[in-house]
Every structure is written in C-alpha cells, then in structure tokens.
Symmetry: C2
Subunit: 417 residues, 2 copies
C-alpha cells in the first residue's frame, strides 16, 4: 500500500509554498527520520536557539549577572507581553504579561472575574474544554462556593453562540472557553460569544492555547475580557515554557481595577521598596506574582522573530492549506478503512490541527512512533495531526497519512486473520 | 586607601580552600573585571551549561520532541524534587516537587495549611520576612477571612522560638517563616520553632530561599510540614528558574491527605486520561498544577552535579569561612567609617550572606557597580554581600570590602568638603 503519485503532489505543494524556507530555520526539520505532526503539543525549536541559549548563559546571565534585572529583565514580562500582543494577539500595549503556567493564569483570571462580578455565582464551562480549564474551574467552585454550569457542545460543531446564549443569565459571573478546541480543532466565534456573554452581564476568559501563533486573533477588537494561553505549541517556547495572560484595558483602569489572588512582590508598585503592605501595581503588572521566568522566555522570542518575518496572515494561509491537504488525504486513504474525520470540514471553522478517530487507533500510535511518525493520541480513539505552518511540509503530511493507512490496514488484517 | 597586605592573606585563604577548583566550573568566574557578591540573588551559571543548553535544544527538545515527555520530563518535577530532597533538603523521596514561582508555591502551601486546620483562623507572619511571603499571606487573609498575626522580631536576632511561642495559640492555623532572613542573614532554629508551632496545634511553612544549597537542611528530621524556596540563588538555576515545594509525607497520606487550590491537569491521577473530574494524584504530584517547566529546570541540574561532588557539609564550611572573613574585614576597614554589621556575629546563627548598613550606602551601590563590584542593596541603607561557596573567592571578598571602604570614605569626604 503506497501512493507514489501523491508524493509528487506534496512536493509540488512544498515547491510553491511561500513559507517553505522557514522549515530550515528549525532544528532537525531536514532530518527525514522524523515526521513531526505534534507541533501543537510541543513546537520544534528554532535553530538559532542552539547558539542563543549558549549566549544567554555566557553573556546575558553569565556576565551581566544581577545587572540583567536592571537591563530589561524586570520589564520583560510586559515588554514581551506587548510584543505578543502586537504580533499574535491583536492586543494594544499594557494588557499582556508573560509568566506562570496556563493553569495558574486561568486560576488568576477566573478568580479575578468572579471578584469583578460580586453577587453572581455561576462559572460557565464546556465539557469539551481542555482538562486543566475544567479542573481549575472545579477547584475555584469548591473553594468559593461558585456554581458550575456546564455546556455540552455538539462535538461536530463545538461551542456555538447559541449554546452560550442558552447557558448565560443573571447569575453568570464568568464563561471559560477555548478559542480552538484541543480535540477537534473547532474554532469558536470569539467576538459573537463574547458579545453574548456581555449581553448577560458576564465576563469571559478565553483559552488561546491552540490558536496563538497559528490563527489571527483580535482580542481588543473582539472585546475580550481575559485571555491566556501556553507558548510551547505554535510559539515554540520549549517544554513547559511560561504562559501569557491578557486583561482588557478597561478592566485594569482605576478606580475599579480588577485584582488577582496570588499577591507577590513582582506585582506591586515598587518591588524594591519592599514595603510593609501589598500595594498592587497599576496596569497588567498587578497580575504578575513571583520572579518572572526570564531564561524560559528566551525560546519564544526567537519564534516571534520568525512570526514577525512571515506575518500571521501568511501563516494562517499555509495552515489552511495544510489542513485542507490533510483532509483530502484522509478522505482518499483513510475513510474506506473506517476512519472518521472529527475536525470541521469547513476550513474557516478549523484551527491548525486535524483529528481523526478509529477504534483501532489506541495502540497504533506506538507503531507510528517507532517509525518516527509523530502525531499525537487523544483518548479514547483520536489521532491528532498537528500542522505547524512554519515547520511542517506537505511532504510530512503525505508521509504520515500514508503510514497511518498502512499501519491501520495491517492492524485490521491482523484482527481479521 | 589600599590594604596591600590583606591581598596576600586572601590569596593564602584561596590557596588552602579545598573547594577552590570549583570556581573554574562557573562562567566568567576568572574574569577579574567582575567581583560578584550577589550569588544570593542570582547565582552564576555553571560553565557546562553553555554546551548543555545547546544540546538540550538540539537533542532533548529538537530531536526527541514530544517523546521527551515519555522519556523523563513527565516525572521530572518529582524526580528532580527527590534529588533536591536527597542532596540539599534532607527530605526522603516523594515529598518534593519542582515548578511554579516561590510566590505561587507559598500560595498553595499556606492555603493548604489553612484547609488542614479548619476552625483556626490565624496566619502568623513576621514583619522581617521577605515581601512576597508577607504579601501572599495578606492576600490569603483578605480572601479567606483568616487573620494575620504579626511577629516583630528583634532585628539583631531574627525570629526566635520565644517569639513564636508568644505568638501561637489555639487559633493558629499556620506560621510562615524564613530559614535564613533575607536581609540580616539570621538563621532561625527550624527544629525548635517547628516543635513550638506543633505544640500549639499549628502547621508551619518554611521559606528556604536563602538557605537551600548553602546550609545543611534536614526537613524530615526537623518535622517540617511545608517548605518552599527558589533555585536561582545558591542553586544557580538562572533568572526566574522554577521553585520547589515540600510537603511532609504524613500530610500527603490518605485518608486525610492535604490538597491545594490550583487544580491543574498535571496534578491528577492520570493526566492523559483527560477525565471529566479533577481527581488529585496521590502524593506530592497533587501539588503540581500546570505543565512543568522542563527547559528551565536544566540549569539547576548542572548545579546539583557540583553540589553532589562537593558535599553540602564542605559547602557550609567554606560558607562560614567566607562570612567570617568578610566580618573580619568589615571590622577592620569599615567600622571606623560608621558602618554597622547587621548580620549575626555568631557564625552558627548566620547564613551565607553578610549585611552592613550605613546611611551613605544608598547611591554608593552605583559607584561600586560601575567598577564591576557587584553586591546587592537592600533598603533603606543596607549593602548585602552574598558569598556563594562554590563560586566566590576570598580574593573577591577582599577586593569588594576594600572598594566599599574606598568609595565610602570618598563619599564622606565629599560631604564634609
């Protein structure tokens, strides 16, 4: 079972890809023994980092030492936040900060939103949301007495504005949703849903983990209240790199500026005065708690350089082409084996990854990984094909789908034998 | 004003220092233009990291990619925690995890302790504690209705067991203290104070930021309940490297295992089952929230290799010799200028740094930094001399104290002129 004719199609697509040259800027992207389709879990490192991390150790840290804090590090959570805002979030300056994990950021934002809507008890969450979003909300409900109200989205569409309208009401304090669903890749209508939540008097926290760096985002324009996301997927920040959080300017403005519960020395007006009482800094800095993870921010800076060069519009264009191509190959080679496409067919409603399901997929992933074909598995029966526009080739998509077809057919044969 | 005779004394001390050779294992330690006395704010990087960070990018991350999570990363917060436990915390396995900032860890631990002592309302904190410890406690008091009870320690002694006995009572839920005071360097009697808190039925959270890696610590033996600390000081983890937290085994044991409020997907029984409800993992893993900062843990691993080689007992011996030598030079060259030693004279009660105060010190620090002499300033009038046993030479101490004497004398002359 080979599809030799499609290789040339893939190569032709690569040949006319205006972003093709970016592939060589990532570590090991030219290594044919690795076919990487999990950049939406952990993006490949930018090649320049091999030198940059050494330089950071030898110079920025090793020779500037403590002076680094006066020479940019202290401001880096917000200067880097502003750059993220400008390049990938559609956020004006002073609303974004980098630090903590997505989980900790979610905790701060949901708690902040609850405090900002006193008298309202409900946190609205969807059952299809990523576990950490649901678990954080469950924990906050348990500790504050807030009530969880669940949305059960149609898995084929994801959370719609109608789902949200039906769920929100006078008691809604905050709604917690993902821009792109981690499993299906469904893209939520952020602007319309945010408006619906506002119409009910609530606030909204958007999880951007699966959209940041791959989809155009316009937080300011969409009127988003709070947002957070990780940076190790399409921002290639490295394993466990810090998250970011965004709080809308109006919410940060005195005299009713929102707060957050983890009051640390880096979130005050003057950290080095070391005064007796916590006095929250003005603006987004009040959402910072502890010492910011400077070294761990270095990789994402290298990625932002590439994103700035390529432009998010071109990235989205290639992302759509990659997922369209993947869907085409799935239809052609996998559907007859019983594989089901679990991502939207409509490219405008689909993020950067494509998920397929088949009852024989559990276990298949090991066979693929042994061959250096690296998609992700999502229980119970999903294979998630992540396509990072700057580092993924059409040839990789072709190779991977062919390998999935081959292994699945073999597994089905074994069973029926 | 030079003290040429003391240079030879310093050099003799360096010559007979059994740990002297470790200095060459740090970046730029041989660069005479940098006299570094702030390793207790940001430790120097281990030289091997220049290569190791590149290798991490090129191999661990760049070529193992997502497989890294199956090949050690997923367990790394606890395996590295166990190693910290064995080498520097006196903690048996299964009680320590690495991740988050010290501030976030303090938040989790204090909240956990409050939950573990229902019906008790008081959080006891000392006014000399580091700002973030106080601010976190203030925030938790505001949100939970807990009451803060302040200890005002004698700055010359720091918090004593008598101070604690006088402060705790039937309403004490948790006491939050630092092992080594960030300003004076005073060493608290952890075992005796912990016992006093337990005698009153409370729990204790120890902040180890200024002791971990430089003082022997015996958390298990001392009966400590909770502890946390940063890793960018004597563990040379780099700017903003992740903190660790420790929870005593008995507190983690079912059926009354303690919990923490930031419920994330990395703290559950089976993260990749992605089940509907948060089910806390057994053991210390339940104190983890989000995706662990793997890349950012890499530097501290290199330091632990050196600490394992040197041994914490030898490190403490050199630390005492360094601070004794600093005190001697301060007495000799600075006291007559009106400088006051703000750290304990008794080496057994003194941590790894020495603080001196003089009303003319604000502003002096800039002159010193311009000369590449890098101690720290702590308001209102303190110069803090941090001495990292593995990377600081006696010659550096000599050079720095001579420079402080020279600059101070010049400043006093300018004033009186």
């Amino acid at each position: 079972m080979t599809f030799p004719d499609t290789v040339s199609v893939a190569d032709a697509l690569d040949a006319r890809d205006p972003l093709a040259s970016f592939r060589s800027r990532f570590v090991a992207a030219d290594d044919p023994s690795i076919v990487y389709l999990d950049g939406n879990s952990l993006g490949r490192p930018v090649r320049a980092l091999e030198e940059r991390m050494s330089e950071f150790v030898a110079q920025d840290w090793g020779r500037r030492l403590i002076r680094g804090w006066d020479e940019g590090w202290f401001e880096q959570p917000v200067t880097l936040g502003d750059r993220l805002g400008r390049l990938v979030l559609g956020a004006g300056p002073g609303q974004t900060a980098v630090g903590d994990s997505t989980t900790v950021c979610l905790y701060k934002l949901i708690r902040s939103a609850l405090d900002a809507r006193p008298g309202r008890r409900e946190i609205v969450v969807d059952r299809g949301n990523f576990p950490t979003d649901r678990y954080v909300a469950q924990g906050i409900a348990a500790e504050t007495g807030a009530v969880l109200r669940w949305i059960d989205p149609d898995p084929d569409t994801g959370v719609t504005v109608d789902d949200v309208r039906a769920a929100v009401g006078d008691d809604t304090a905050v709604v917690v949703l993902s821009h792109v669903a981690f499993r299906s890749g469904y893209v939520a209508d952020v602007a319309a849903i945010t408006e619906a939540v506002h119409a009910a008097g609530g606030l909204v926290v958007w999880d951007l983990c699966h959209s940041v760096g791959v989809l155009p985002i316009e937080l300011d324009e969409w009127g988003v209240d709070y947002a957070t996301g990780c940076t190790y997927k399409y921002l290639n920040g490295g394993p466990g790199s810090p998250a970011f959080l965004y709080v809308r300017r109006e919410l940060l403005a005195a005299p009713h500026a929102v707060a957050q519960p983890i009051q640390g020395w880096m979130g005050v007006r003057d950290s080095f005065r070391m005064g007796p009482d916590y006095e929250a800094a003005e603006g987004i800095r009040r959402f910072i708690s502890g010492t910011p993870p400077i070294l761990a921010m270095t990789p994402m800076i290298a990625t932002l350089d590439l994103i700035e060069e390529a432009g998010i519009a071109a990235i989205r264009r290639k992302s759509v082409e990659l997922t369209e191509y993947a869907v085409e190959l799935i239809d052609e080679r996998l559907t007859w084996l019983g594989v089901r496409l679990s991502s939207p067919r409509d490219a405008t409603r689909r993020g950067g990854h494509v998920t397929i399901d088949h009852e024989a997929f559990p276990g298949l992933i090991d066979r693929l990984w042994c061959r250096g074909i690296l998609p992700d598995f999502r229980p119970p029966t999903g294979i998630r094909i992540g396509l990072s526009p700057l580092s993924t080739s059409f040839r990789e998509v072709d190779t991977a789908i062919a390998a999935i077809a081959e292994e699945l057919a073999a597994k089905i044969d074994e069973r029926s034998a």
